[in-house]
């Protein structure tokens, strides 16, 4: 708890005609000993030495900086102390979200030299809210975990082997487990790969045996063959990995996990419409790869068929079915995550394999077939005629150079075509082509047809990690990514809802070997980062470096299980009675747990129920709605809505001066108690502004804004019971770039509330 707070007002950055000396005097008068220093400074950033001196002279333990948004220049204000004492720092946004957005309720012009009364009230309210915010903040006591410097790599294919080697190069021990009896995975059938490095123009040997040798020689790496995961217990930094190694159970302490379990070929049934299974002369690329390795290819005319439209059409109906199932499940309210009791049932893995995996593998197939055609031409001295029939040659980027090399290859003939059928005619196979570039339809007679492969991620079919988590053994949300263990975020490809476990290679997305190699490095970096962060007791992204963590007051816990069910990261397990068991290094500090808790059991050192309740009670609510105007509380997600509000202010957008904004970590952290506190206090409306939810969610904590939306129903019920109109509370989605819509969103809500009239609790 900050007990001696220095309050500083930034003359340069506040403006608006506010009398800062008067504000300072009022602040001093209201808070007395709690704020031994209250000063107006000419410009905040240049006053750092002065603030440092005040900290020493007055033994301050908190500093409240009132001026520009905390998003601006916050890196200047750290105030490290020689004795290690932590100074709590907070900001009051008097520029973007107070002065710059101010407008008179009647729209009359504002004199920039003389602050209107309502602006003065707003500024004073925000300073007071800032003071109690700091008062209710305590220095963080980090939850340090062991930080075991050993990484578990699951899968010994190209990606897994590279991950192991890179982790070892970084000085970490590695345990690599591989399901099969040898390393190499799919690369066992790829002695020669597509280009792996500059100039990206020609095939390259994979040197698999050398790579395996490197792995075997490396004293940091333990390889276990014939091994599968039994379970992963605990939390990042100090996981216990238990595996079945050749029938024997083995276990290791590991700090983090790289999942490189790769893929399995799409079931052959999906390629039956293209003739697979009807003739030994129609095979898949995977089968062709094995034949190449064994030198068994006898055919002289080979067609590589990249156009998979016939197969996709045949299974189109089926491909759309899973979506229907999801919709039905949603309609009937069956949501595994929100239904806590369901989790106690034995887990049934849903098979996510579908025809879509064929189309998703377009790049790997295009590159792969060029490579295979090239190899067979090499082996036969271009005596073979290889036809590559494509609809769209999907070789994006630098590999165009490889494509061009192949175009110049004598034995390779490529054409764009829509393939309408592939039929066995006994002595030959006929590939019927339409819409070709040759200006006519034709039938191509060949001895062998090679069909593409569908890269089905292992995570679509089986449990590869087997988490010993209360929320179940699997990665959540796999259905959103068609079974791939991928991230939802374009900017953050290694984001995961299971902190400390990072997927790489074809289990994440279909990718060529060069990218698998790079992906392995990325995943290893995240694994190391997670171990080191746990060792320091700080969170990983997006709140990287956060030293706080949720603290539970178990005395008041009623074992309702809501926090354990709703945590987007599965950070909370529980005991038989249902008491939550926190795993701080799985936690990402979003606060969804305390948003869920009806008993106010959970808190962070710098963010808690009591703190926000105290903050929202600071403003004086006018008893007379008509004279003093309504009061609206806005809870804004600090990741997107809050910056959008800042931008709106900077762009001179104005909105109702009756609003008070409190930033929240995520709408998932908004507790219904805050809303009833606001109603009790006499606010006329509460507006929640957060990120988009649904399948394409933009919430940085995955489920926060969605959970908040779901909780609104309960809130409406509570309000109804209190005889308060549920319309007084609304949640609006606002993306970070929708700042120009802010006035319309806020004023629209204020108008609706004004029409409703005063909160019936006002003045009670």
């Amino acid at each position: 708890m900050a007990q001696k707070i220095g309050v500083y007002l930034d003359r340069e950055n506040i403006g608006g005609g506010l009398n800062l000396d008067e504000l300072a005097a009022k602040t001093k008068e209201k808070w007395g000993e709690l704020t031994p220093v209250v000063k107006v400074v000419p410009i905040m950033a240049e006053s750092v030495p002065e603030i440092e001196a005040d900290i020493k002279a007055n033994d301050l333990d908190g500093v409240l900086l009132c001026g520009a948004s905390p998003r601006v220049d916050s890196g200047f204000y750290r105030f490290p102390q020689e004795d290690g004492r932590k100074i709590l720092v907070d900001h009051v946004n008097l520029r973007e979200q107070c002065v710059l957005c101010y407008e008179n309720p009647d729209g009359s012009p504002v004199d920039p030299r003389v602050a209107p009364e309502l602006l003065k009230i707003m500024a004073q309210d925000y300073i007071n809210m800032g003071v109690v915010q700091l008062q209710k903040t305590t220095p963080a006591d980090p939850a340090v975990v062991k930080g075991v410097r050993r990484i578990l790599v699951i899968g010994g294919g190209w990606t897994g082997m590279h991950a192991a080697i890179e982790a070892s190069k970084s000085g970490y021990e590695v345990v690599l487990i591989e399901k099969n009896d040898k390393l190499g995975g799919a690369v066992n059938n790829i002695p020669v790969a597509s280009p792996l490095r500059s100039p990206w123009a020609d095939k390259e040997p994979t040197h698999l045996s050398e790579l395996i040798e490197d792995l075997d020689k490396d004293p940091n790496i333990t390889v276990c063959l014939n091994a599968t995961m039994k379970t992963l217990v605990g939390e990042p930094g100090e996981y216990k990995a238990i595996a079945n190694v050749g029938g024997e159970e083995k276990s290791w302490e590991v700090g983090a996990v790289v999942v490189a379990t790769g893929w399995v070929p799409l079931s052959e049934k999906y390629l039956a419409p293209m003739g697979l299974g009807s003739s030994p002369a129609i095979i898949t690329a995977a089968q062709f790869a094995q034949m190449l390795v064994k030198n068994e290819v006898k055919a002289k005319r080979i067609a590589f068929v990249l156009d998979t439209t016939i197969a996709e059409k045949a299974f189109a109906a089926e491909a759309n079915e899973p979506e229907k199932d999801i919709l039905e499940a949603e309609a009937s309210g069956k949501n595994a995550e929100s239904d806590g009791e369901n989790m106690d049932q034995p887990y049934v893995k849903e098979d996510l394999e579908s025809i879509k995996h064929l189309a998703y593998s377009n790049v790997v197939n295009s590159v792969g077939m060029l490579r295979q055609a090239n190899i067979i031409c090499d082996k036969t001295g271009d005596a073979v005629q290889a036809y590559i029939i494509y609809k769209n040659m999907a070789i994006p980027g630098i590999l165009e150079r490889f494509y061009r090399t192949m175009q110049n290859r004598l034995g390779i003939m490529m054409t764009k075509a829509d393939v309408t059928s592939v039929k066995d005619h006994g002595d030959r196979v006929v590939v019927s082509c339409e819409n070709t570039l040759l200006g006519m339809d034709f039938d191509l007679d060949v001895d062998l047809v090679v069909l593409p492969c569908g890269i089905v991620p292992t995570t679509a079919k089986e449990l590869v990690v087997n988490f010993d988590y209360r929320q179940g053994p699997d990665f959540p949300d796999l259905e959103l990514f068609d079974g791939y263990a991928d991230s939802n975020y374009i900017c953050f490809p290694y984001e995961t809802r299971r902190t400390g476990v990072y997927a790489a290679g074809c289990v994440r997305q279909p990718m060529t070997l060069d990218l698998c190699e790079e992906d392995a490095c990325g995943a290893v970096l995240k694994a190391i980062e997670c171990i080191e962060s746990g060792d320091r007791g700080v969170a990983v992204a997006p709140r990287s470096g956060d030293r706080t963590h949720p603290i539970f007051n178990f005395l008041r816990c009623t074992q309702c299980k809501r926090c354990t069910v709703e945590c987007p990261f599965g950070a909370l397990d529980d005991d038989e009675k249902g008491t939550p068991k926190p795993n701080p290094s799985r936690c990402r500090r979003c606060g969804t747990c305390f948003g869920a808790c009806p008993e106010r059991v959970i808190s962070f050192a710098d963010y808690n129920i009591d703190q926000v309740s105290a903050m929202l009670r600071q403003p004086d609510i006018p008893k007379n709605f008509k004279e003093g105007g309504p009061r609206i509380l806005i809870m804004a997600c600090e990741n997107d809505a809050y910056p959008a509000l800042d931008m709106a202010g900077l762009r001179h957008k104005k909105w109702s001066p009756y609003c008070r904004i409190i930033p929240v970590r995520c709408l998932g952290s908004v507790n219904a108690i805050w809303i009833s506190d606001a109603m009790n206090k006499g606010y006329d409306g509460v507006l929640l502004m957060g990120c988009k939810y649904g399948d394409d969610y933009q919430c940085h904590f995955m489920k926060g804004s969605e959970l908040s939306h779901l909780r609104m129903e309960n809130i409406a019920e509570t309000l109804n019971r209190l005889r308060v109109e549920p319309e007084r509370v609304e949640q609006l989605e606002v993306a970070i770039d929708e700042y120009d819509r802010i006035p319309e969103l806020i004023d629209g809500f204020v108008d609706r509330i004004t029409a409703l009239g005063p909160n019936p609790f006002k003045g009670m």
């Binding site: 916050s74 970084s170 070789i395 980027g397 490809p493 990325g522 997107d640």
Partner: protein
């Protein structure tokens, strides 16, 4: 010996690499030649395939930088020299003058009172900026820049007396000890002027795909309403010419990876703004790697969009400000000439290093992509190495941070 890492380039790849390396515990110097971080992605309106705004991810990255004292960002800064060897380099950087203070001051009033203007680099020349400016609302660092060359005479007098502005600030050079270097110098749009047959730079209503991003942006020159440059009308018919420069041995000898997806995304912008719009996409191949195929399918289902396999041969003036597009349909063999109100050239990406050089012992290939350097502890990532999309660039930046950290021992 130092445990520090130098990152050259503050676009998405460089930002990712710098932040990840710093969160491992390394000291990181991030050097960016522009006044702000974010690079090309900051100019984009939305990312494919989710159509989410880039500022959302950048905001998180900037927060991570602000919270981490291990990262030191130098904007308007260039790498000018390098001594030493892998594990123990001394890099010399030149900090060009910004003429504004190292902290944030809101200069909007003063800026609006100035007369002098220059074409806005950020808006790709489609609008002008003042001599004192901030290119975009989300600019980070949130500081203004003074460009003395754009000041008018009366401006100069105004600025001379202004508090916090230092017109006499000079460039300065400093040296940094680093163990390894990440090169994330990114790309620039291929210059349309090199494509005279397509009318780039010649016809007003022939714009590049990057200019289209700015037209669709809520903080762009048209406030997000897509209007054609000649008369500010909202176009009813639009042609996209794919591979404008890319996959062409006379121009860019590779595929630029993102242009197909960018066009699909821009089709969605156009249809959202005007359900009556008619669009033709002229292409060689439709490249939607992996799960991006879903976006292609979505666009193919739109009644507004027609795909024609065939490369555009020529773009000529048509009636009024319209343009005539000459292309051969590769399947029917038919030569078509059709008129459109707006043409978008899906111009490719050219590595920045094709036109600039860095004092680093690192080979480039014939197109200007970095082709090595790892042995010297120099790791190229992102579009400096090959054309990539945003997600793959972030992947590359993360991977490069690992490689660079293996040399910079002792965190």
């Amino acid at each position: 010996m130092s445990n520090a890492i130098l990152v050259v380039g503050g676009g998405l790849t460089g930002l990712t690499a710098a932040i990840e390396a710093a969160e491992l515990g390394h000291e990181v110097y991030l050097v960016e030649k522009n006044p702000w971080l974010g690079g090309r992605v900051a100019q984009l309106t939305k990312y494919f395939p989710k159509l989410c705004p880039p500022s959302c991810g950048l905001e998180i990255q900037f927060q991570r930088i602000k919270k981490n004292p291990l990262i030191k960002c130098f904007t308007m800064t260039e790498l000018v020299g390098l001594k030493g060897k892998k594990g123990g380099y001394t890099a010399k950087i030149r900090l060009n003058p910004r003429h504004t203070p190292p902290f944030n001051v809101d200069f909007s009033l003063l800026a609006s009172s100035l007369e002098g203007e220059a074409p806005s680099e950020f808006e790709l020349g489609m609008t002008k900026r003042k001599a004192l400016y901030k290119a975009m609302p989300f600019a980070f660092p949130a500081r203004w820049v003074l460009d003395p060359s754009a000041l008018s005479k009366s401006d100069a007098a105004r600025v001379a007396g202004a508090k916090f502005l230092n017109i006499n600030e000079k460039a300065k050079e400093i040296e940094l000890d680093v163990a390894s270097i990440i090169v994330a110098t990114g790309w620039r749009p291929y210059d349309m002027a090199n494509l005279p047959n397509l009318g780039g730079g010649k016809w007003k209503n022939c714009i590049s795909n990057m200019q289209m991003e700015r037209l669709a942006s809520p903080f762009g020159p048209t406030g997000g309403v897509i209007k054609r440059p000649s008369d500010g009308q909202r176009p009813l018919s639009v042609a996209f010419a794919q591979c404008a420069g890319s996959r062409d041995q006379n121009h860019l000898n590779y595929c630029s990876y993102i242009c197909c997806m960018a066009t699909f995304k821009q089709c969605l912008y156009l249809v959202e703004q005007n359900p009556q719009v008619r669009i033709t996409v002229y292409y060689i191949d439709l490249r939607a790697p992996g799960r991006y195929i879903n976006t292609l399918e979505k666009v193919q289902k739109l009644p507004n969009v027609r795909f024609v396999k065939g490369k555009v041969a020529e773009i000529l003036p048509g009636r009024g400000d319209n343009l005539r597009v000459v292309a051969e349909n590769a399947i029917t063999g038919e030569k078509q000439t059709l008129e459109y109100e707006l043409c978008v050239l899906a111009t490719g990406m050219q590595p920045s290093l094709a036109a600039e050089s860095l004092p680093l012992p690192m080979p480039l290939d014939m197109d200007g992509f970095v082709a090595g350097g790892e042995e010297a502890g120099i790791f190229a990532a992102g579009c400096a190495r090959m054309p990539l999309d945003v997600s793959r660039s972030a992947q590359a930046g993360t991977a490069a941070a690992l490689k660079a950290s293996q040399i910079a021992k002792g965190r």
